[in-house]
Amino acid sequence: MNVLGPDYRRDLGVRHYPLLVYAMTPIAALVLQALLPRFLHDYAWFDLPLLVTIYFALARRDPIQGTLMGSGLGLFEDALTQHAIGVNGVAKTVAGFLAGSVGVRIDVENHTIRLLLTFLLSILCSAIYVFIYRVLLGLELEWNWLAELMKSVGNVAIAAVLFPLLDRAQIRE
């Protein structure tokens, strides 16, 4: 399977989605991220805004769009917490940029690759979050890496369902 070849990459087109999907999916991700932990309590092992960022960055194959979406969603996520605004923003900005950059080079139709990328970017996001909070800002923060690992696994599980659903929403010519 040729997934990295430049010729194959050029053959792939950029996906397009209805404007409503572009607008409502991030908002729905933010709302559900704020709502579901009330019912799942300590088992809310997922990060829906990150999944939406990764999905659209991969699908659009555009690092700038991934950067902007990751930045916006991360800042809004930060605004819902009592923490500094920008920690999640920086983490998701990097994740969106990387997802958009990688999307140019790999076959985003391959579901396994998308899930593997989701897992890696989830871990990277957590690492950036801890780095900014502890090192850059010098704030105290206890961290549980097992919980972060479980969150990455949860993200993969949700992505396995969410990504195909969003694939159906794309505009096909």
Partner: protein, 410 residues
């Protein structure tokens, strides 16, 4: 130049956005005098606009969802699931009648207790007014234990108001929006509440750890702390009124960072993971009604009158003490004001003789000895010179000693 920007456009956009966010972070974080970095903003009364926007985006769907959930729940409970309601009503009516009687008794005790505490100038605050609210959302991050409630500044909420349930404290209001508020739960890492152990009376600071568990930090190792001991609010943080239940001691673990210190893991009294309805304490003024205030004023008046009466009694007893005869030594010089010779000569009056109290007279001893009062040592009774044996038994026979009057010795 144009080709440079076109070639590195993606990277430049990324760097610009990252730089803007990092500068924004640097603006938010302050360094305290002690050298620690903190997020506490100098102006606590303001809300960052982006938080307001995020709340405006997230809260309406959450409130809609909550209303739908409540509507569905009430439809089921109020109209569909009505089995055995009559029997329950009868039982509840009996319970209400019984509780009314108990409440009347307890109310009297409570009034008396408050009145006494006020008289003793206790500064303890009572929960005066609360606002019931529903938890509608969360932060969505497991590193941030905050949740949102559906009441805000329009309902009288303000920052740093305590939030509790009937079981115990829950957290404090951190941000206030027009129709919602952000509550920082007590099991968050950045929260802090002054607590006291009920039995051992040890005080500490309650906060959350990375797993969302409550722990009291900064306590010296103490063998008296046992599992099951109740933890109450200490009231020193000016947020939580004193004496509210916090939880019970679960276990004691050594502090990983400091020797001889321990962390007390606390099992919360309130179900922090299953919050639905909460109470926000909006006022902690003394809980006295107008009638009770009048009672207190009356008590204060009575207390003042009683103090006056005690003062009058003390004055009267002092006057009486001056008039009553006392034990006076006749040999003592008379008071200067009353017995000055000059004054006596001028007035020509006899100075008043000092009143001598009757002295009890001792009966003469039948067999006096040298210990008998008044038996002054005589030359005969003086110790014999060395070498000469004294015979005290023979002398009374030759010259019986006359019993003497006891010397008055005042």
């Amino acid at each position: 130049m144009e080709s440079f920007f076109a070639r590195y456009r993606n990277l430049l956009v990324l760097l610009a956005i990252l730089l803007a966010q990092i500068i924004g972070l640097a603006v938010q974080v302050h360094r305290t005098v002690s050298g620690r970095n903190t997020l506490d903003a100098p102006d606590e009364s303001s809300v960052r606009l982006i938080r307001l926007w995020a709340d405006a985006v997230v809260t309406p769907p959450e409130q809609l969802f909550h209303a739908a959930k409540m509507g569905t729940g009430s439809l089921w409970v109020d109209y569909l699931d009505l089995r055995q309601v009559r029997e329950q009503n009868k039982d509840l009516q009996k319970t209400i009648d019984r509780l009314r009687l108990e409440q009347a008794e307890l109310l009297e005790d409570a009034k008396q207790g408050q009145r006494l505490q006020s008289l003793m100038a206790f500064q303890e605050k009572y929960i005066y007014k609360t606002v019931a609210a529903q938890a509608i959302g969360s932060s969505g991050s497991d590193s941030s234990r905050v949740f949102y409630i559906n009441k805000g500044s329009a309902e009288g909420l303000d920052r740093d108001m305590a939030v509790m349930t009937a079981d115990g404290i829950v957290g404090k209001v951190r941000e206030v929006y027009p129709h919602s508020a952000q509550v920082l739960a007590i099991n968050d890492q950045t929260s802090g509440a002054g607590v006291i152990l009920e039995t051992t009376r040890l005080r500490g600071i309650l906060r959350g750890n990375a797993n969302g568990r409550l722990q009291i930090v900064g306590l010296l190792a103490d063998q008296r702390i046992q599992s099951g001991e109740k933890v109450l609010t200490a009231g020193g943080d000016l947020i939580f009124p004193r004496g509210l239940p916090v939880g019970v001691v679960d276990k004691v673990v050594p502090d990983p960072d400091r020797d001889s210190f321990i962390d007390v893991i606390v099992k919360p009294a309130a179900h922090l993971n299953q919050l639905d309805e909460v109470l926000v304490i909006t006022s902690t003024e003394p809980r006295f009604s107008t009638e009770q205030q009048q009672d207190l004023a009356t008590s204060e008046t009575l207390k003042g009158a009683e103090a006056d009466a005690i003062k009058q009694q003390q004055k009267a007893s002092q006057i009486m003490a001056e008039r009553l005869p006392g034990l006076t030594d006749p040999n003592a010089p008379p008071p200067a004001a009353a017995t000055t010779p000059g004054q006596t000569a001028q007035s020509g009056q006899t100075p008043a003789a000092p009143v001598v109290p009757p002295t009890p007279k001792l009966l003469p001893a039948r067999r006096p000895d040298r210990f008998t009062p008044g038996a002054a040592p005589s030359p005969e009774a003086s110790p014999a010179p060395p070498g000469e044996e004294s015979k005290p038994e023979a002398k009374p026979a030759q010259k019986p000693e006359k019993p003497t009057q006891p010397r008055r010795n005042l």
